[in-house]
Amino acid sequence: MKLKSSLAILGVALLASALAPPPAEAQGKAQPEALQLKVGDPAPDFKLQYFDGSNLKDVSLSQYRGKSNVVVAFYIFAFTGG
């Protein structure tokens, strides 16, 4: 009798944990964290270098001001996909 009731309690507990919503952090993964910089904000200026095969060349965002649009595409690491 005692065994039966403790099994029933266990069953209820298991059912409750199965029905409980997943923890907030697991849910959060579906929605990417919003950026601080929003559409309409001024893009912060920068000056960075690239290697053209013989020299290091400077490129700044402000050099394109009034001349062309700029796509600034941040990627995670060289030699990875995308």
């Binding site: 929003k38 490129v59 009034g66 600034v72 941040f74």
Partner: protein, 103 residues
């Protein structure tokens, strides 16, 4: 970066310069550009100052998030693509072509 290279003619025709940015060294980025056939500059944010300024540094990976910003001639952000969405730049290419038509 390959996806931008594939759309480079369209983007250039719409007055748009493409710049890749990562925290790799300029020399690693040059080797990467050569390997995947990218002809636009891959800039080196060695140390991550610009990545932090843009609010997309991920401490866990010591690297930027994958984010594309389209910046207009006035220096303001016109479009953003974040993480997985940023792999396919169609939204940005379309936005550039719309701007070109409305000019």
């Amino acid at each position: 970066m390959k996806a931008f290279q594939q759309n480079l003619q369209k983007l250039e025709a719409a007055d748009t310069q493409v710049l890749g940015v990562s925290m790799d060294s300029p020399f690693a980025n040059k080797a990467f550009a050569d390997q995947i056939g990218v002809t636009f500059p891959l800039l080196s944010d060695w140390g991550g100052d610009v990545t932090r300024k843009y609010g997309i540094y991920v401490d866990k990976y010591k690297a930027p998030r994958r984010v594309n910003f389209l910046i207009g001639k006035d220096g303001r952000i016109l479009e953003e693509q974040v993480d997985r969405e940023a792999i396919n730049p169609t939204k940005i290419v379309d936005a550039c072509e719309r701007k070109k038509l409305s000019r």
